[in-house]
Each structure stands twice: as C-alpha cells, then as structure tokens.
C-alpha cells in the first residue's frame, strides 16, 4: 500500500507493526465488537507517520474492510498518510504532529481513575518523539497522579528524521530517565509478542515499555537506514521486500 500510494515512512511502519499487532491481538482489550464500549482499552498511535502499519492491523482485525487499504493516501480515501480518526473505526485520535498522543492519553487515564473506569490506556510513541517537551510534562503528570492505568510503548528503533537518535539529541540513559520520572520501565524485544504482552501487564505505577526494535524490520535493505524513513518502495524493491517478509514471518 505504501508503494501504490508513493508514500513515505515504510521503515517506521515495519518498526512498530509488531507492537501494534501485539496490542490488537490481546495485549489491549479492544476489538471491533467493543470499540464503542465506555470501558474499552484505548490505543493511541502517537507516531502518526506509521499510519500504514496501524491501518493494516486494524483491517486484519476486522475494524474496517481490507479493500480500504488499496486506496491508502488516494484522493478522498478514508485512510490518509498520517493517522486520521474521523470515519475510521478503531482510531481514537488523529496524530501526525509528534507529542500529542501522550497528553491526550494522560487525560483519558486521569478521568478514568477519577470516575472508576477500569479500561486502560496505551500510547505508542516513537523514540524521536521523546525530544518533545510534552513527553516529559506528561511523564511528570502521570506519575504525580499515579496513573497505573497508563502504558507508554516507545518504539526504540534509534533512528529519527535526519539521523540516529543518539547523534541528534541523546536519549540515553533512556530507561533511567523514565525511571527517574517514576515510571515502571521495562525493556523488551519489540518484535516479540510474548515479551510485549508480559511487559504491559499491570503495575502500581504508569508503565513505560521500551520496545527495542529495528527500523525497516524484516527487509534487509531497509533495516537501520534513514533513507527508508522517506523513500517509497517501487519496482523490484516491492517484490524483494515481500519475499523477505514472507520468509521472516
């Protein structure tokens, strides 16, 4: 779908797609059937540029028809290049400007605690997104209000827009930062569903899961390359990518 749409961010999508699959296949309690329920688990993909991964997962889980994927990013299509909420079942918040998803999720988690709603809130962020001040404002607030119903999953692929995260604006010691803000912090293999599921299990404080991932996961020429943050796969790249992905999964 990224190729047909001549769209960007395929490597960002491959990096986070396992996290999203894990969430929508049982780590979070959200299905097409309960997607309107007041106590559903909320999943917010704050790194809105990985929209294609979310759309693919939602379609496979039956939130909307598979054929919507074919028109991704086309004129007047329901699915745009960044996560768009209106008219797309299963999507709670439109994102695309980084640093918006966590405050929104903190608001929902806080009001759920105040009103005794048992549903949990999951916010999936990019590591580059942790450059944003709202991330750390939210981290303070979630700790202060003891939002133990909130889980942040950071897609730690170590690459952001122009280069590696540590060459752009150092995040390390990353886990220590979240710990210092009062979050239960768990580092896992972000491509392992079991590890992800266990890491999201309840704690007595907000949870930060640092999902160690590979940008462009599963396609050797896309892995760990800044280029594929932008480049749209075309021609033989698409066939090669499909072959590798089908062999790896």
């Amino acid at each position: 779908m990224t190729s047909a749409a001549n769209a960007s961010h395929v490597a960002s999508a491959l990096s986070v797609v396992d996290v999203l699959s894990s969430l929508y296949t049982g780590t979070a309690l959200i299905t097409p059937e309960n997607s309107e329920a007041k106590d559903r688990d909320i999943v917010i993909l704050s790194k809105g540029h990985a929209a294609s991964a979310l759309y693919a997962v939602l379609a496979l889980q039956g939130f909307f028809p598979m054929d919507w994927l074919q028109n991704y990013c086309q004129d007047d299509a329901p699915l745009g290049g960044h996560v768009t909420s209106k008219g797309v079942p299963g999507i709670e918040l439109s994102t695309g400007s980084l640093g918006h998803g966590l405050p929104y999720g903190v608001g929902i988690a806080m009001i759920r605690k105040l009103t005794g709603n048992a549903g949990r809130v999951f916010v999936v962020m990019s590591d580059g997104e942790c450059n944003e001040g709202t991330t750390w404002e939210s981290a303070m607030i979630a700790n202060h209000h003891n939002l133990d119903n909130l889980v942040v999953i950071v897609d730690r692929n170590r690459i952001q827009s122009l280069t590696f995260t540590e060459d752009t604006l150092k995040l390390e010691p990353f886990a220590d930062k979240w710990e210092a803000f009062g979050w239960e912090t768990r580092i896992v293999n972000g491509h392992d569903y079991n590890e992800l599921k266990i890491a999201c299990m309840n704690s007595e404080s907000p949870i930060c899961v640092i999902a160690e991932t590979t940008k462009g996961k599963g396609v050797d020429f896309m892995e760990n390359s800044v280029l594929w943050h932008y480049k749209s796969p075309g021609g033989s790249d698409v066939a090669k990518a499909f072959i590798q992905l089908s062999e790896n999964y």
């Binding site: 209106k86 918040l93 405050p103 903190v106 607030i141």
Partner: protein, 305 residues
C-alpha cells in the same frame, strides 16, 4: 468577570458532574471554592499549557465538558496546535477560557497583553469565539457554554468590570445585544470596552448624531440581519481591544464584503505601535487609540464622506 465566570461555572458544575475545570496552575483566589468543594471535577496540571490542552481534549473525548482556565496568551497561543488538532479537528467538547483580554494585565508587560487571540482562535475549524462585555453577559454566556458541546473560546476581561447593561438581558446565539438606539449609524463593540463606545455615543448625541450601540459577543456567529440593517442605515464603527488584523472589525468587514454590501466602516482597534509599553489598562487603551474621541471622529468622518 473572572469571578462571575468562576461562580457561575461552580453553580453549574454542582448540578452537572460532567463539567470539569482544568487550570495550568493559575486562578489563585478565583478557583479556590471550585477546587475545595468539587475536587473530583478539578484538575491543576501544573505549568504546562500544551500538555494541559491535550489532556483536556482527552478528557472531553470521554464525554465530559471541559473548561480550561488560564490567563492571557497561555491557553491560546502557547498551545495552539493542541487546540487545532486535539480539540477542534477532533471536535472535542473543550472551552478555552482566557482571563485578561487586551490590556487587562497592562502593567505586567507585553507577554501578558492578549491582542491576537481572537484572530487566531476564529481561524480554527469548528471553533466558536465568545466575548462577553460585562459580568451579566459573562454569567449568561457561561451558562450557554455549559449547555453546548462545541469547541469554544471564552475571552474574559479581568476583575472589577462594571456592568454595561443596566438590567438583565436575553442572550441568543448569533444576536447582537443592543444597548442604545440611534438613527445615524451604529457602534459595534466586543469585550469590556463598552464604556468607551457609550461615551463616544454620548458625544455624538450631544452634536445631534444619535447612534445605536451594540455588544457583539458571538464573533464567529455574527448577527447578519442586524448588520444588513445597520449597513443600510449609516456608518458602522467597530471597537475592540485587539489587533485590527483578524478581530471583530475584520469579521464584520468580511461578512459585508461577502454579502457584496458597500458600507462605510471604520475599525477602531489597538494600534500596537509600541508593544513594549507598560501601564494601566486605561493608559494603554488611550495610548493605543482606543478612546471615545477617536471613535466619534471616525464616525463623523464617515458620515461626512
């Protein structure tokens, strides 16, 4: 106006648990009672307007009516993208409340002068901009805002504003509130600057040019019917404690232009020639061209042109 707002919202929130009041660590002595008596409906997020606004949108997404209180430019310009994306585009039920319109915090300096907020807020999709003229309008408009779910911006003065209305009034969406009636033209103001408009009207009456004076609280939903009649009657002068670019005057000019009506209109707004100037609200109004004399001079010039 801020006390009237806080008292009115408190009374409404006692009756309706869905009302949530949030603040970015401001409102000392103003929000105390709400906080003490309705702690489950009150959130002070700390000093973090962007996160505050994102949280407000998230809370509103669960079915709450959220009022976000702060002063000056902090709840508008500081978190503009959160208002645009998380509140307006998601159509979440958030009311942004800013205290200190125009030069209300005049002595505090440029950072605290709110002069571009109407222009910015009214450009946002789904956003209704509401500007009360006095405590009476503040009470009625707060009650009105509680009853709707639209993303909204409530622009308040500060404290000790006098009532411009001598009696209780009816407020209807999209209607001006007429305070005086005169056949030579119309002065349209928004916000707590009505006394200046009334003084200008008194000057004009003294020289036998009685004019109508109206308050315009609904900037994004103008009284079209009244405007068409006013444009046919005579000159219109708009008065606002805001930049001339994008405020009340602009909104009215746009309406008349789209309606293909050629009218004689003058916009009296803050000159902003010397943004770093400090001083009392009265001083800064005069210094920035917001005076009865300027209004009447402009009106007479239009009448004679």
């Amino acid at each position: 106006m801020r006390d009237t707002f806080a008292q009115t919202l408190f009374e409404e929130a006692k009756k309706d648990k869905n009302i949530i009041l949030m603040t970015g660590d401001l409102g000392f002595g103003v929000l105390d009672r709400f906080q003490q008596e309705l702690p489950k409906q009150f959130v002070n997020s700390g000093v973090n307007e962007q996160t505050l606004m994102g949280m407000a949108a998230g809370i509103a997404s669960t079915g709450k009516r959220v009022f976000v209180y702060s002063i000056g430019n902090f709840p508008t310009l500081r978190c503009l993208e959160q208002i645009r994306n998380d509140v307006c585009l998601m159509n979440n039920s958030v009311v942004v409340v800013s205290v200190g319109a125009g030069y209300a915090y005049g002595p505090q300096g440029y950072t605290h002068h709110a002069l571009e907020d109407i222009a910015v807020m009214r450009a946002l999709p789904n956003m209704q901009v509401i500007v009360p003229a006095d405590p009476i309008e503040t009470r009625l408009l707060t009650q009105l805002l509680v009853k709707t779910n639209l993303p909204s911006y409530l622009r308040l003065g500060r404290s000790n504003e006098k009532n411009i209305h001598s009696k209780d009034i009816d407020i209807t969406q999209g209607r001006f509130i007429e305070i005086e009636k005169g056949k030579f033209g119309t002065l349209i103001f928004s916000g707590s600057i009505g006394d200046i408009a009334l003084k200008a009207a008194a000057n004009l009456k003294f020289i036998n040019y009685p004019v109508s004076v109206v308050s315009c609280p609904f900037i994004t939903n103008l009284d079209r019917e009244y405007l068409l009649e006013a444009a046919a009657k005579g000159p219109i002068v708009t008065i606002e404690e805001h930049s001339s670019r994008g405020g009340l005057g602009s909104a009215i000019l746009e309406f008349l232009s789209f309606a293909k009506i050629t009218s004689s209109l003058a916009i009296i707004a803050a000159d902003q020639n010397n943004p770093s100037q400090v001083g009392s609200q009265d001083f800064l109004r005069k210094s920035n061209g917001l005076s009865p004399e300027r209004i009447s001079e402009n009106f007479i010039a239009l009448l004679e042109s």
